[in-house]
Symmetry: C2
Amino acid sequence: MSVILLFMGVERILPKASGIGERKIIELLIQNFNQMPEMVIPFGDDVSAVSIDKTQLAILKTDMLVGKTDIPPGMTLWQAARKAVIMTISDLASKGVKPIALLIALGLPRETSRVNIEEIAKGLNAGAQEYDVYIIGGDTGETSDLIICCVAFGITVKNKLITRSGAKVGDILAVTGFFGKTGAGLKILIDGLKVPPKIRKELLKAVYLPKAHLKEGLILANLGGVSASIDSSDGLAISLHELRKMSNVGFTLTKLPISPETFEFAKLYGLKPEELALYSGEEYELVLTITPKKWKSAKSIVEEMGGTLIAIGKATENKEICFQKEAVYSEILYKGWEHFRS
Amino acid sequence: MSVILLFMGVERILPKASGIGERKIIELLIQNFNQMPEMVIPFGDDVSAVSIDKTQLAILKTDMLVGKTDIPPGMTLWQAARKAVIMTISDLASKGVKPIALLIALGLPRETSRVNIEEIAKGLNAGAQEYDVYIIGGDTGETSDLIICCVAFGITVKNKLITRSGAKVGDILAVTGFFGKTGAGLKILIDGLKVPPKIRKELLKAVYLPKAHLKEGLILANLGGVSASIDSSDGLAISLHELRKMSNVGFTLTKLPISPETFEFAKLYGLKPEELALYSGEEYELVLTITPKKWKSAKSIVEEMGGTLIAIGKATENKEICFQKEAVYSEILYKGWEHFRS
């Protein structure tokens, strides 16, 4: 596996310069689109859907990986291609939908070698195989940077679909893992920071080999009781704000799910571990709300399959999103990874 | 509507330089993908498919439009965005499948203005509305050139799907319109050729405002008797060769469907109209084979709806593809529009 030299633009991994901002762009687009009558899932959720019949939905998702913004330094082409698949599958995972097939639209710079193309193909296939799904078609084009548009298709039963909009006051807020590793890993790579090998390995693994929590999503959708869910690719803080917007509740967190490696890394460089956990992004955990009645069985069913489900707070009537530590409430800001924006 | 200034690279519209070649890239990719068991449509057809149940298929397609290779000089952003939609819908049209929903993955250069984004959105929506389909989701990213990945989804009944592989010896080869206009139009734009206003208008319209022959595709799939079909986006010659490869027949053409404007243009500049009609690409006609039994009803049903269906030859046992004029047979080469290749 060759390390990427082709795709420059490291400074854009954490965007700095001007621009309209991804969310504003999406808003402008949607304003100009005629809306499908009886749209099953509104714009702004993790996936889109079309009714097949009375009970079934076709689920569709496309995610675009761009070399200069989505490939961190040192990531191989194999890893980048696999990541493009993971990003897309993670969105279906958050809705509790099993992907059946993938399409790949691949933009390659003219100078891409045969070896590089094979490495990309193998990475795409590895990501697909990990989640028991097949690539069945796609398109290629000549681009100045590597572009991988991954399209995922799945079918689900209407009453099992979990959207972003069902969280109710009193529901338990939970996540499938610990946060902060990707943010710390990106800092190591971009700023060339030194850390002990063991921590470094774990933090870089989070960056180079992300995982989609499909098993958790499927098992929880099957159990029922998950009122809302989102994948945390834009960071924990933005994920909470998006859930709030779509569900019209607030959240009070009583625990921040920070990984031990993130604590160690933060200590070394005088950083706040909370900031790394909340505002990084490029993590593919599920952020869910679960009814109190189903919480115990949800937790045990996920743990039985070898996964993690951590309660971190509750949905509240108050629309704020804050972290409560003893009697102190601190606001969690709408801040994190966003393409295009400073 | 502002004319594109952002997206340079005019010389690449007809690729000249080195590179592996799009078909070889696709071959390399497919070789490295695990193949889905019981794949409904093999790699290399216009669309991909997944079984929904015993009778229905989910049809999926993604097509990538890239600024520097797919946007001719003088094309507006509105037209480019619309074209991205038309390209994708045309593939479904060739299979006789009605698109239900579209997703758009949009890569925009950082400097893209609000006005430009709105123009792109309006173009996408216009293309969708023309074919009675809705955009239901997508993704955005920051790219150095404009990238539009359009994803189309449709549902069809298994026994109505038309693939590239069903042509039988004796079937009538037909097309939905005349060829050569796009090739002539691109020559005008790229080489700055002068032609009388009336012809110029017609030739540039073919470039800037292509149409997908969805109505024809749907009505013919419904009638039955279409044994194979392909959309001619790679040019008439390559389309015939692809049909041959998948159907294992040859074709003898007794008529070349050349538009009158192409004749006039070719005469002005001492070019061969046959070359323009066969080897240009970026046209979205359907190239079909139809059983002799159904030919008459196919022709009249398409003409009744205001369309065109022109018989241009027959499928033959001999695997060659040639044009017969009186007693002279000239070979039709595998040549045309292909990204990445000289």
